[in-house]
């Protein structure tokens, strides 16, 4: 059985510097596979090489080394694009057209028949929440609306594989939820989805597997919880207290009116709670304080510098 996406030693160098004499490596020796039917997240900080990888897959730029295959075919085969949907980073479309016209244009390119086309276009507009704005020229659209058009054109032709480059960027929480729902729906329909993001929580929620890329190199592939071993750094207590108190803990807390936030180490949790109870505080919530993803990445880079081996965890 083949893979949906497969790369082998994929590398990309860009000429840079004065007179383009130097070379900047933005991707080095990427070898990975995406299984059919899974949702794969491509995680990494900005400039790590996520977009570069995706552009290489879509044939927008050409590798300096290595190969890549989509649905078993080489990436240079444009006919294969029939089964692939792509959302570019910060999409932009012909601003003199309306959303309906853009989708219709793309539908024609995809060789959809007339009746089918109209139906599809309307369905897509509805799906991304743009059915009322369908007749307005794109030059009047906000960034979020453009992002939705982008998603629409990516799934318009019912592709087997959908590749999304930063699909959540520019969207408000409602929009993000809609995109998340679309991705889950695609998964239910048996499609393969690959998307890139630097927001870990999105990946954790949606992906079967994630691949971590930092500094142009793949750091590890595996199930979300396993691959990112983010250490908890303690607990945060949110409590309410009226009036003042002499409890020593309060000194370390952040105060906003009657509400306080206090950060304690895990082993100090229960003593702290006792102290607060004694002081007459009302505990509102308890949550884990996690290392941020950025901290994690920096940590990786540092480990890299110390020349540790790459993290490879067993598959899901």
């Amino acid at each position: 059985m083949g893979y949906a996406i497969e790369t082998e030693n994929l590398s990309k160098e860009f000429p840079s510097g004065f007179l383009n004499l130097k070379k900047k490596t933005s991707l080095e020796g990427l070898s990975m596979q995406v299984e059919n039917g899974e949702v794969f997240g491509f995680i990494g900080p900005n400039g790590a090489g996520k977009s570069t990888t995706i552009k290489l897959l879509m044939g927008l730029i050409f590798p300096t080394a290595g190969t890549a295959r989509i649905l078993g075919k080489p990436v240079s085969d444009t006919a294969m694009h029939r089964d692939v949907g792509y959302l570019p980073e910060q999409p932009y479309f012909y601003d003199y057209l309306t959303a309906a016209e853009v989708l219709d244009y793309f539908a024609r390119i995809h060789d959809l028949k007339v009746g089918d086309r109209q139906e599809r276009v309307q369905k897509m507009l509805k799906k991304v929440g743009l059915e009322t704005a369908g007749k307005i020229q794109l030059r009047k659209y906000s960034k979020g609306m453009l992002q939705r058009v982008g998603v629409a054109q990516a799934i318009l032709h019912d592709p087997k594989l959908v590749i999304l480059d930063e699909p959540m960027s520019g969207l408000d929480p409602l929009g993000r939820r809609e995109v998340r729902d679309i991705i889950l729906e695609l998964k239910r329909e048996g499609k393969t989805v690959m998307f890139s993001t630097h927001i870990l929580s999105d990946a954790e929620m949606l992906c079967d597997r994630i691949g971590v890329i930092v500094g142009g190199k793949l750091r590890g592939v595996g199930a979300p919880g396993q691959i990112v071993d983010i250490k908890a750094r303690g607990m945060e207590i949110l409590f309410e207290m009226k009036g003042s108190s002499s409890a020593p803990l309060l000194k370390n807390a952040m105060q906003t009116g009657d509400r306080y936030r206090l950060h304690v180490e895990e082993n100090e949790l229960y003593p702290a709670i006792e102290q607060l109870r004694g002081a007459g505080a009302r505990i509102l919530s308890l949550s884990q304080v996690k290392e941020t993803l950025e901290d994690f990445f920096l940590h990786l880079v540092a480990t890299d510098r110390a020349q540790a081996a790459a993290v490879e965890v067993s598959e899901k």
Partner: protein, 304 residues
């Protein structure tokens, strides 16, 4: 790097084949356009007023354009046909209408409108008209009178008018002294060898235009040939008197001590004696062809 059009070899085929086609097509189009442009010019040439109106304040510039055409046509060796000479007058007409101060155009007309075909258009009357227009627009330029006098003298053989022209010109500022002398000489003698030589030499030395200069030079050379042949004929008669027969070749004259060395024409080719015993140009000399083109010179020789 595999790409969308993975056939760069297609290029290796298309580019050379394509340019081969372009080569052929371009030649074809050149021919077609050349044929058309002759037609085009005839049409445009039909109205000097038209040309002037169209160019308005760019008239002198357009005059230059037409002037370039004149030089091109006249200098162009392959297309030197009857039609070109027909176009000479209209072209000069328009040029001088557009820019009456383009003096070289009048001088050009004087020489090439008046001379017989195929060297010139053979229309001395038009040459006179042209120069008179030039005089009207530039009344103090004495050389125009020289040119006018020249046409009357050389082509129209009207010595009275020639003399009058030279006289008139001699009164203009900057004119050379010989103008007055020439007026008197022509009035008295009509056509003469020395007058012709003088006038051609003056033209040769005082014009910058290469076509005019060349033409003057040729005339001077042919006049020289006339002189040389006449002198050689005289020497041949001396030989006859001395030895009872005319010399068969030039070397006979040298052997007889009458000549010091083999005489050469201005082009550097040795003179020969023709079948009729008269001295003449060598068959290889380029001056022979030039003389054929200017038969008038032979007629002039008869007079002299």
């Amino acid at each position: 790097m595999k790409t969308g059009i993975s056939k760069p070899w297609l290029l290796v085929l298309v580019v050379p084949l394509g340019f081969a086609g372009i080569w052929r097509l371009q030649h074809k189009i050149d021919e077609q356009q050349a044929a058309l442009s002759q037609e085009q010019d005839i049409v445009v040439l039909q109205s000097p007023r038209l040309a002037k109106l169209m160019s308005l304040e760019y008239a002198p510039l357009m005059a230059d354009v037409y002037w370039t055409r004149v030089v091109q046509y006249y200098g162009n060796k392959h297309i030197k046909q009857e039609t070109n000479l027909d176009s000479l007058w209209p072209l000069l007409n328009i040029t001088t209408t557009l820019d009456p101060n383009l003096l070289v155009a009048y001088r050009f007309g004087a020489m090439f409108l008046s001379q017989r075909r195929p060297t010139g258009a053979g229309r001395p009357d038009l040459a006179v008209e042209l120069i008179q227009r030039g005089i009207k627009a530039n009344p103090d330029y004495w050389r125009l009178y020289q040119d006018l006098g020249f046409v009357y003298y050389y082509d129209l053989k009207d010595y009275k008018k020639a003399s009058e022209a030279f006289l008139e010109g001699s009164k203009k500022p900057g004119s050379q002294l010989w103008m007055k002398v020439m007026a008197a000489k022509i009035a008295e003698e009509g056509e003469s060898f020395s007058t012709s030589v003088f006038l051609w030499r003056d033209l040769y030395e005082n014009t910058q235009d290469p076509l005019l200069k060349n033409n003057a030079l040729t005339h001077l050379q042919l006049l020289q040939v006339q002189l040389d042949c006449a002198q050689l004929n005289q020497l041949a008669e001396v030989h006859e008197k001395k030895y009872g027969k005319r010399p068969a070749r030039m070397s006979d004259l040298v052997q007889a001590g009458i000549l010091r060395g083999l005489p050469q024409d201005p082009a550097g080719y040795p003179y020969v004696f023709a079948e009729d015993g008269k001295a003449d140009l060598n068959l290889n000399s380029p001056l022979l062809e030039k003389r054929l083109l200017m038969e008038r010179v032979q007629q002039g020789a008869a007079k002299h």
